[in-house]
Symmetry: C3
Subunit: 193 residues, 3 copies
């Protein structure tokens, strides 16, 4: 079986900025990805003309039904946000993708309870590609209970992989189909049962 392959909707816009500061570029990233037609925006450090430090800006645009109009609108926004006077356009020959779905994992800490979204993707023949907890949700919970976000994230992802729930206080994964706790191999080394 093959991956999803969409042959034509994506455009890469490229420009280089050697005269704007990090505040401006950071805002440009934020503003650009808020647009529905912008799939991603990346800023890469470089050395440019006259050996000056600069940044390459890559913006991936979903052209949809109007690739020319969409690319131009985004190019204009790039210019407005960064002051660039030239934006180069490279149309992709295609995009490979695997469909992803969101599942939820229950997380408890004493009486408190949350549901965390987990993005799950597999290749068409069932090879797992990613099991990824929404970081912002893990961060929020981590702050509430005093745990590092990466610890919450690791437990949630482990629970998603075994179809279980997370007891954050004991740092354990529970599989509800069983009465006993699942002594998950992902449990934190050194944690007491």
């Amino acid at each position: 079986m093959s991956l999803d392959y969409n042959p034509s909707h994506l455009t890469l816009l490229l420009t280089v900025v050697d005269d704007r500061d990090g505040e401006v570029l950071g805002d440009a990233i934020q503003r650009l990805v808020e647009r529905d037609e912008v799939l991603a925006c990346h800023v890469l450090p470089c050395t440019t003309k006259k050996n000056r430090p600069g940044h390459v800006l890559l913006v991936l645009v979903d052209g949809g039904d109007d690739p020319d109009g969409t690319a131009e609108r985004v190019a204009r926004e790039i210019m407005t946000l960064t002051g660039s006077t030239g934006v180069d356009r490279f149309d992709a020959d295609g995009v490979y993708s695997v469909p992803s779905r969101f599942e939820t994992v229950e997380v408890r800490y004493g009486d408190r309870r949350w549901e965390v979204s987990v993005k799950v993707a597999e290749t068409p023949d069932g090879e797992p590609v990613t099991v990824k907890a929404e970081f912002d949700e893990c961060r929020r919970i981590g702050r509430e209970v005093g745990l590092p976000p990466r610890e919450v994230k690791a437990l949630v992802e482990a629970a998603a992989r075994v179809g279980g729930t997370v007891d954050l206080k004991r740092r354990e994964i529970r599989v509800d189909r069983e009465t006993a706790d699942a002594r998950s191999e992902t449990r934190r080394p050194g944690a007491r049962p």
Copy 2:
């Protein structure tokens, strides 16, 4: 109204170098951008084969009336300068640009007087894209009078936006149409009038 859009003249040449030092790459950037057909040249740090540090070299070429010959000449120069034995070519699907013009801003410091070039660009419907003083000129003046180049640059750009001139000694913008000084909001905080 739409941006200028040139559908076909630009080519991106890409190669990777993992065996040249910064001196060689710095010279390659300089030498390549001296060529009329090279619009820009950027060196991006990367990690490459065997997890070695390396650099991606991106060179944007204006193919003009002879895109194949031009791209080949520049590819050969890249090889000669960097030792790369392979250069990949990606023809852009287009380039968005806004026309820019140069204006001059008068700068005074006591009896001394300079004219600084400022690049100005707007979208076709008049949205400002960039007002940018030539940095090398600002740097030269800054050294002469003992001010940081970014201070000179900020004052020149502010003057260009209001159609005024710069009194560097008082760090003020003057709008010549008025007798009184323009108390520009870009004046340095804490400067006395």
Copy 3:
């Protein structure tokens, strides 16, 4: 005379990873370049969505007789290794290259003797592009005899350029056609003859 130009076999696959650590990406580079159809793999640091640090992964694929099948297989491997759920494909318009050949240079240190491979490439009209000793071989010899690899590499490359051999102990290049030592200009400054 013109460079070798192959108009169509190369594909660039691009994806961005903001949720994997250096160990995973380092392994992905290694695993991808082990594939015959992967010509090169580069990881570039970037700032991405929500101003998070991330990495752009560029993979250059030789599509051979089956560009679609090859690109898809590599895209799938990228997904499996990195957890990315989307990979963008840009087919190159061509590749410029110069043919390279391997020569060997004899290296001696007292009674010990090695042969080191040197990659040599020239443009069709004889302009030298690169003379490059295989680094891993230089490193191995350097460790055996207690010299820094870059010193072994410099001597081997100098010997290749003059058609000579290397006496590592005396740090000299010898040109066999002559009885006398070649007092090479590349000899280490300060070394005694």
